[in-house]
């Protein structure tokens, strides 16, 4: 399956000139010696700290396309006139008189000259724009310079990278180009390298992530070699345009059948509304004999169809995998996207179950990230930006556990997740008091929270179930609120502030004592989590890396059956009671279930640092998910140095 036309690699030249397009797309065949290394060499060339230019087709893709279409339309409009101009009186001239085209015909010379001039000017501008649009990647930052009249220079520190996307809109794919987007926190702060050659984009991403991770050169080479031996070979992008979606090691941790995706989309509340609308319209039409109503269905149908296709587009062929550089998502049918989210760049998770999914036991996992993906308005020609916020568009309980384990390994085997998804009052969660029934009609026994050292778990809803997980180290601030009505009922709401607009985790209708305790405890947990967090240069942190490298094993049938018989958590007596006052209890690491949250030893008003060093309750001894694997860097490094 290697490219037959270029057995010794793409022709020499600039790093982007590897056309016809070839993905740096290792797959199951033995490694082709030259090509992946070629792509790596080119990527290495791109990160040498010098200024480089983008793919030569960029101006075309960024807006030149519209120009060509414009010229084409003009020509087709005036085709008759032009024919008559050059072939006079042969075929007659029976076009209708219209003053605008008459004017154009009488001034034809000037019009044509003006058009040619305009086109040339635009082409020149695009070309200059491409010439001055340069980027360079230095040891600690990515810099982009662009702009002809207004210069723009953007410098993005590598340590703050939130993720790297490679998007391939279908048209760019034909030209072997792709969008390369380095996400930064904040609105409109992304660094876009639009467009790069597909052949180097993947390798370039690994190079940038290598630098951002603070990984040693030896480790980086070992990883690159692993990537090659695990796969290797380059495929022809025309024949196998999506090799990098499915075949690059490591494989996807979840398999989502196409049927399930379509069925889940149909059952998602959204399409149900569409069907209701359709039925309603038909009823109105036939019962009241108002036939014109039928016409209103046309635009609505188009809108529904377009929205449905777009949401399907971001779900189809979904894969999620663990790499040493973070979680790797890939999705898309005609236009594909692959992105790598380094560790600690996912700020909150929500696991939810639309009502109609319940009979099938399906769940959806969404996440929030810092920064918004900017849709660069320049000539994307109607290709919608497909940025999924799904970590799992649809999956069963096992998939949910896998995904959670990827992000929060401490919780992978925890009964807390099960309780969060299905559980009710007497369990490890602190729930609303009975008097909150007015605010939570059905879910008063479910609506609650749990504080785990790694994350806050917020559980909502009995009919529309959802569970929010907020890693403690990612919380930006915490708020406690109480309005006048809550005040009368002695209830309160606690909110966790995270970047991004997808999720805003909060839990309402809590007893105000519980809320105050959670508020105090949350700040302490966050403090400890921040201090022990090391995701900024993630490879420097051995444990994080180890966790990521073991993550695939979680999926491959090694996940122990969570409930041998009776659920574990039901065997435990409920440890949280709504005592009138919070009786002081010793805070000690509980063996199972992990990390029962208990009221702090002292009343929250006199807050003091916890009596025990925080590391002691960082990792429960019985948590089977964390073990230093053989492939841990700690064991590898001496060998590399020899």
């Amino acid at each position: 399956m290697t490219d037959p036309r270029h057995p010794q690699g793409p022709p020499p030249g600039g790093p982007w000139q590897g056309m016809p397009p070839q993905g740096m797309s290792p797959q199951g065949t033995p490694p082709q010696p030259s090509q992946p290394q070629d792509a790596r060499a080119k990527a290495a060339e791109l990160v040498d700290g010098e200024w480089h230019q983008l793919h030569p087709a960029s101006p075309l893709l960024r807006g030149g396309l519209a120009l060509i279409i414009f010229v084409g339309i003009l020509f087709s409009v005036f085709r008759d006139r032009l024919i008559v101009l050059f072939v006079p009186d042969e075929f007659g001239s029976d076009f209708d008189e219209d003053p605008f085209s008459d004017f154009i015909v009488t001034q034809l010379l000037w019009v044509i000259l003006g058009m040619i001039g305009l086109v040339l000017l635009l082409m020149l501008l695009f070309w200059i724009g491409w010439r001055v649009h340069r980027f360079r990647i230095t040891g600690d930052a990515v810099e982009v310079q662009q702009g002809i009249f207004v210069k723009k220079h953007r410098r993005a520190p590598l340590a703050r990278i939130q993720g790297i996307n490679i998007q391939k809109p279908w048209f760019a794919r034909l030209l072997g180009a792709c969008k390369f987007e380095i996400q930064q926190a904040g609105n409109d702060s992304n660094v876009d390298l639009n467009y790069l050659s597909s052949s180097v984009a993947d390798a370039l991403r690994y190079e940038i992530l290598n630098r951002a991770s603070g990984r040693s050169t030896a480790d980086a080479q070992r990883l690159a070699a692993e990537r090659q031996t695990a796969a290797g070979g380059v495929v022809n992008e025309f024949l196998h345009p999506d090799a990098e979606l499915s075949r690059v090691a490591p494989g996807s941790l979840v398999r989502i059948p196409v049927g399930r995706i379509i069925a889940s989309s149909v059952l998602d509340g959204w399409i149900v509304w569409a069907v209701l609308y359709l039925v309603g319209t038909l009823v109105v039409t036939f019962v009241f004999q108002q036939w014109w109503v039928l016409f209103s269905m046309v635009p609505a149908a188009i809108a529904f169809f377009a929205a449905g296709m777009r949401s399907l587009g971001a779900k189809l062929r979904y894969s999620i995998a663990a790499t040493p550089d973070g979680i790797r998502l890939a999705y898309g049918l005609a236009s594909t996207t692959t992105e790598i989210l380094p560790p600690g760049r996912i700020f909150a998770l929500q696991v939810k179950q639309p009502l109609l999914w319940r009979p099938f036991g399906w769940w959806q996992v969404t996440f929030t990230r810092a920064g918004k993906t900017s849709s660069d308005g320049s000539g994307s020609s109607g290709q919608s930006q497909q940025m999924a916020n799904f970590l799992l568009p649809v999956g069963d309980l096992r998939d949910v556990r896998t995904v959670i384990g990827l992000l929060l390994p401490e919780l992978a085997h925890s009964p807390l997740v099960d309780q969060g998804l299905f559980g009710q009052a007497p369990d490890a969660y602190v729930v609303s008091p009975p008097r909150a029934r007015a605010f939570r009609w059905f879910s008063v026994r479910r609506n609650g929270f749990h504080v785990h050292p790694a994350a806050f778990l917020l559980r909502h809803g009995r009919i529309w179930r959802s569970l929010q997980l907020v890693p403690g180290a990612r919380v930006q601030s915490v708020a406690m609120q109480q309005g006048p009505i809550y005040g009368l009922a002695r209830l309160a709401r606690v909110q966790f502030h995270v970047p991004g607009s997808v999720l805003s985790p909060s839990i309402g209708a809590l007893d105000q004592q519980d809320a105050a305790t959670l508020f105090e405890h949350a700040m302490r947990t966050v403090k400890v989590a921040i201090d022990t967090d090391a995701s900024e240069s993630w490879a420097a942190s051995l444990s994080r890396n180890a966790v990521l490298e073991t993550a695939p094993a979680v999926q491959d049938g090694l996940m122990p059956a969570p409930h041998p018989g009776r659920p574990q958590w039901q065997q435990e007596p409920p440890q949280w009671q709504h005592a009138p006052q919070h009786a002081p209890q010793l805070h000690r690491p509980a063996p199972q279930p992990p990390q029962q949250w208990q009221p702090p030893a002292q009343p929250p008003q006199q807050w003091q640092p916890p009596a025990q060093p925080p590391q002691q309750w960082q990792r429960p001894a019985t948590d089977a998910s964390w073990q230093p694997p053989a492939a841990d860097e700690r064991w590898q490094r001496p060998r590399d140095e020899q």
């Binding site: 340590a159 703050r160 939130q162 926190a185 904040g186 600690g344 700020f347 810092a370 990612r474 930006q476 601030s477 915490v478 708020a479 406690m480 609120q481 109480q482 309005g483 006048p484 005040g487 009368l488 002695r490 309160a492 909110q495 502030h497 995270v498 970047p499 991004g500 607009s501 805003s504 105000q512 809320a515 105050a516 508020f519 105090e520 949350a522 700040m523 966050v526 403090k527 921040i530 967090d533 995701s535 900024e536 929250p604 008003q605 807050w607 640092p609």
Partner: protein, 164 residues
Amino acid sequence: MAERIDVTGAWQRISMRYASVEAVSTVIWWLIVGVAATVPIWIVNDGDMPWWGWLPLAAAILLIVIGVVFSVLRTRTIGYLQRDDDLLVRRGMLFRRFVAVPYGRMQVVDITQGPVERMFGLKSLKFVTAAATSAITIPGMPGDTAEQLRDHLVAVSESRRAGL
């Protein structure tokens, strides 16, 4: 009324002059609304004002009185508390809100001063974290206090910089 949520500690109150700032803004706002509602009635009736034509203005004046009282009460509830690892900000009497920000999470500390605030020599301190929902403001700081607190907070957050 039942006991409300509270966090005890050595809360720093803001200057009571901020109540005047709020009161002035309230007065200006409701006067504009009241006049804007009254003048058309006056014009439509050719200068011959019916008795109900004064109702909007009366309502505006009533709202001004309520607003002034509330601005005094509200100002008394705004405060901040510097703890070991985080800054705690509270505001609101009916709608109470406590926000805690770890020092390392503050990305930007802004000082702003509107025209009315300038008349009373007050400044507002605004904290920006990576989360847009944080929305933390301490208004009504006397000029030098605001700068001192900002410098202190910037220094502390710099020493505990904690990524995102």
